[in-house]
């Protein structure tokens, strides 16, 4: 049974229960954040490093969380920003085009020992990897996590209308790619 976010936050602000509250937060959100990041960066080791960095950031900044938004949208926002920064850095570092990075991610997916996909799953994942990073982020949150557009809007800072359009185009593109396969 997970603690309510408000209780978690109150406990985090108390020095005596701070660690315990953070442990509860980890238990509650760690897996969701892990899969969110994993779908973006594909590689397990990269995901592991990023998730660790994300939760260290959360630890450092949770005191400043103003509770204007839900805690999990705030966590997803940090995680999404970390993913985009990581992918941008990867592109800059490798001085390769976006297509090359998406191919690299697809290759990682095929070679990974932590991947257990059948042919159709692999085709879907590869098709998703052809989307631009932000569109992929939106697609994953909508399709896999079934988030509402309003929630995604708070996470990525884009209007609901633009998100609907982006998702629609992403779906069409993936459908076409799957049909071609």
């Amino acid at each position: 049974m997970h603690q309510e976010d408000s209780i978690l936050l109150a406990n985090f602000k108390n020095p005596k229960t701070k660690n315990q509250a953070f442990e509860s937060l980890l238990k509650k959100y760690q897996q969701r954040i892990y899969w969110h990041v994993r779908r973006m960066v594909v590689d397990h080791d990269d995901t592991n490093d990023l998730v660790q960095d994300i939760f260290i950031k959360v630890w450092k900044n949770l005191d400043n969380f103003r509770e204007d938004a839900k805690l999990y949208t705030w966590l997803y926002r940090i995680a999404s920003n970390e993913c985009i920064t990581f992918l941008n850095r990867k592109k800059l570092k490798a001085t390769v085009s976006f297509d090359d990075v998406s191919h690299e991610l697809a290759d990682k997916m095929v070679d990974s020992e932590y991947l257990d996909g059948n042919k159709i799953q692999m085709a879907l994942q590869k098709a998703i990897l052809t989307l631009p990073d932000k569109q992929r982020l939106v697609f994953n949150m909508k399709y896999f996590e079934e988030m509402k557009y309003e929630e995604i809007s708070q996470i990525v800072g884009t209007s609901v209308g633009a998100l609907k359009a982006s998702y629609h185009f992403a779906v069409k593109k993936i459908e076409n790619l799957l049909k071609e396969d």
Partner: protein, 147 residues
């Protein structure tokens, strides 16, 4: 792994046929438990000093920036005053001896001085005229009395 296409929301979710699209990604055994332990160790061992240091460095930077602004503002005011004092000899203070020779090279001062000279000359001329007028109007009787 999260289920998908389970809830029928009013929002459109694509249905790519009856294919199984469950997550193909896997994680090592006991991964989440071990990872959360590692994260807890990391945050518990985060040196308080680091946070304090970051805070102090941030504050020093802020203070230095504010000081620099003050110094710049002070310097600007000083320079402005200096420039103004050069240009603002009051008319009453002007005397040929008060003005340094090099200041005569300033076209503005030259002009001011020339205008003062002309005013003075004009006043002198008026006085002279008045004296002449008085002399012209004085009659011989009065002149004898005065003498």
């Amino acid at each position: 792994m999260q289920s998908k296409l389970t809830s029928k929301e009013e929002e459109y979710l694509p249905d790519f046929g009856s294919a199984d699209f469950s997550n193909p990604f896997k994680v090592p055994e006991n991964y989440f438990q071990l990872a959360s332990q590692k994260i807890m160790m990391e945050v518990e061992n985060l040196p308080l000093q680091t946070v304090k240091q970051e805070f102090t460095i941030y504050n020093y930077t802020k203070i230095a920036a504010i000081l620099a602004l003050f110094i710049m503002a002070g310097a600007s005011i000083f320079l402005l005053n200096k420039t103004n004092s050069f240009n603002s000899y009051s008319i009453s203070a002007i005397s040929i001896d008060d003005i340094p020779m090099e200041d005569f090279e300033s076209p503005m001062l030259e002009e001011t001085y020339a205008s003062l000279y002309l005013t003075a000359q004009k006043q002198e001329d008026i006085l002279l005229d008045e004296e002449l007028l008085l002399l012209e109007n004085i009659d011989e009787k009065t002149l004898t009395e005065q003498l």
